[in-house]
Point group: C2
Chain length 464, copies 2
């Protein structure tokens, strides 16, 4: 087994025991990048020299007895939406081709302070405004999309070119690639993690979080990136627990909500079957299943787009005036549409969101977590504009990708995406677990319980 194939926890244990040097690990990952990048294009930029240097430094520090903990020497992929000091940060857009920030985004700064080694910047759908990530391919089948917008991080984590990938999630951009690439991905509660230094898509829906190979790794990363930041006005001063603590405590007696509507309404049979089986696993582990009704199902996409479009256009307005020709056509069109939205319509979307949040809070009076299908389909083919349904209807790909994940952005509730197996073609299928505000601990505990009972989590894509 090559070092890049180790789980984070295994690699960390080897490093701590000095049986594995961070330099060996990073070299193994860089070699893996060299082998897979021609097929995947997960990285906007690979910082091999800086990574080798950081790994050498980590090796020295650890040799000198200054081991910083389980993230020390672990390879990190950073979505190209995050500022990285001295490293190009393009948001995978020609608009920012020349942008080299002076400082790291808060999340990067904290993970680097914990000893992580950045191996490169992972591709995003341009400015995080899309679910496809057209630059990048799915490591389970390079004729398929990785999902997005954090598609580079999804492809990189799944193929073993980093152990943790940072993502951001405004309509599903962490959970879509996590599900389509078969990784774990966590969108924390709105306000749990600072977004400072991460380009905004829609400030009232944006979340920052990790993609990783398993739930424990997500929890480890969350320990470092969670917390109040007075310069991100959305963050809340709620204590940060140790999220790895009690992760293996089991879920006996936990009330697990199963949606009677919305989330199972239009999903591929393979997805429904795999998620129902996963729910069966939770029940056998002692969870108490409760059927719940999802409130305001018909308002989800109207509210999501009614908020996202104008907020994105407000952020991009000046750049759109001076550099419109540098945007890709689909993103430019979205930004132009957002400029036409009236304030009264945006305000109505905000009001619907508030009603939705209140109604979801009432649902969580009856349950501890909600479990639902993640993506309605396995990864679509590259270039496909539509998803075809058995009843003969078709659905725009972007709509199919965001309709299962947008409730998590509108409600702001913490949501974990995790794999539940593969379809007949070998493509990953996924589910999502949603919890109460700032109760990432329970969401992660459910994921960990499922994962321990499931053989499919954490597998590395072969990239054949």
């Amino acid at each position: 087994m090559e070092p890049f194939e180790l789980s984070l926890a295994a690699a960390a244990a080897e490093i701590e025991a000095r049986r594995l040097s961070p330099v060996e690990l990073i070299d193994s990952v860089l070699a893996r990048i060299e082998a897979t990048e021609p097929a995947l294009h997960a990285y906007a930029c690979v910082t091999a020299d800086a990574a080798r240097e950081a790994a050498a430094h980590a090796e020295q520090e650890i040799a000198a007895g200054r081991h910083l903990g389980p993230l020390h020497g672990i390879p990190l992929g950073v979505k190209d939406l995050y500022d990285t000091a001295g490293v190009p940060t393009t948001c995978s857009s020609a608009v920012r081709a020349d942008n080299v920030p002076g400082t790291d985004a808060v999340a990067v700064e904290r993970l680097v302070a914990a000893g992580m080694v950045t191996v490169g910047k992972t591709h995003t759908h341009e400015f995080a405004f899309g679910g496809i990530t057209p630059t990048t391919r799915n490591p389970w089948d390079t004729g398929r999309i990785p999902g997005g917008s954090s598609g580079g991080s999804g492809a990189a984590v799944a193929s073993g070119t980093c152990m943790v990938g940072l993502g951001s999630d405004t309509a599903g951009s962490i959970r879509i690639p996590a599900n389509l690439c078969g990784t774990v991905g966590l969108k924390p509660t709105y306000g749990r993690t600072s977004r400072r230094g991460v380009a905004s898509l829609s400030w009232s829906l944006d979340h920052v979080g990790p993609l990783a190979r398993n739930v424990y790794d997500c929890a480890l990363v969350l320990n470092h990136i969670a917390g109040f930041d007075r310069l991100d006005p959305a963050t809340v001063d709620v204590p940060v627990p140790d999220y790895t603590d009690g992760l293996d405590r089991g879920i006996a007696g936990l009330r697990v909500g199963v949606p009677a509507n919305y989330f199972f309404d239009q999903v591929h049979e393979d997805v429904a079957t795999a998620v129902r089986e996963a729910i069966g696993v939770l029940e056998r582990l002692g969870a108490q299943l409760c059927e719940v009704t999802i409130p305001y199902p018909d308002q989800v996409l109207a509210a999501e787009w009614g908020i996202l479009l104008p907020e994105a256009s407000a952020y991009h307005q000046e750049m759109l005036r001076s550099k419109a020709h540098l945007y890709t056509d689909d993103v430019r069109l979205f930004l132009e549409v957002g400029e036409l939205v009236l304030a009264t319509d945006y305000i109505k979307a905000l009001r619907v969101r508030t009603l939705m949040q209140q109604a979801w809070a009432a649902v969580f009076d009856e349950i501890d977590v909600l479990v639902a299908p993640g993506m309605p389909v396995a990864a679509p083919e590259v270039g496909a504009a539509e998803v075809a349904w058995p009843d003969g209807s078709t659905e725009d790909v972007t709509t199919a990708l965001v309709r299962q994940t947008s409730p998590g952005n509108l409600t702001g509730l913490p949501t974990l995406a995790l794999p539940v197996g593969f379809d007949a073609a070998g493509l990953p299928l996924g589910m999502q677990v949603t919890g109460r505000p700032f109760d990432e601990a329970t969401v992660l505990r459910v994921g960990a319980a499922y994962e321990a009972a499931s053989p499919t989590v954490g597998r590395i894509a072969p990239v054949l």
Copy 2:
């Protein structure tokens, strides 16, 4: 001295000692209403029979030993924007001429539960959308406006036709009439008081609070109307202290900010002189004066209107489609303008507000309260469209009325308006005291200290 002339505290003491019956008090107030209403038109509707009945009930309860406390039997005027069960609630608009709610607004419900007796609904500028209150006159000079939008409550409290008037404040609507009519008025912190059952003007700027004859009375009322309400998503679950507690503790050592810019930039000489004298009083009482710079002075009105206009239009949109002809011309025009605001511009106003809030928070690192002129002028004449300045310039009346008060709405900080004397024409002049979020206690303490040293607070207008 007639009962209506008593201070609330004095009336409460007389009632508790059973030397004054609530029936006598209400009869005295109703007689005062009869005498002054032809000149003032402070009330949209007087509920004389219900008030007499409630007073008789209070009399019985108190006689039976069930005295509810200092508000029991005290006459209350309710701004016609507040729902009142079984009593017409028109928002002083033909649009709602036939509206009779089934339940009381939360604030009314709580004050009635504390024993207060509603004597009627006080006029508002139509739907709270204006600072004039054209229906109503100023009790110190009936050729002058009372200010608004809570003009009826201002005129009523000042003239002795109620002891407490409920108001609401979106751009100054409690503080404008308080200053122009010479009463005390408190806009609490955003989220301190529930707005449930009060017609919205601009939900992210709306505040509910009292007008009263002195600071102690405001504190008493705040004790009852403050607190969390899960059905007003803006309210915050912060403990409610007894606001009358420690009100007379003095202000020795308190750091009182005096603005070097903005608030004194264009105010009438009489106002500046009276407020500077009041600040001198605070200094003699032991306060430590600190000059501070008001941040973003040039963005105040752009942010206020950029938020208020579209939020109001969103609230009114359906009514405007079906009943446009029933609005007054000025309000209809405002609502039509608000429908044209783009979401991107509204979002920019929201972002400026956030920057403003952060910068004001930094100012309050250096000071405990900020003291500033309230209205830039004494009450303008009825029908005046402009205020004339000594340099020959003129200013739209509405702009003159809202520019000193809007910072309190944008920042959400608690602000107390209180009288600081009269000009040569006998018109009241006022100042405002602003504090930290949820620190109404300090703001009220400053007001109480000033009031105790000043002879002018609490005088009743003669309405000649």
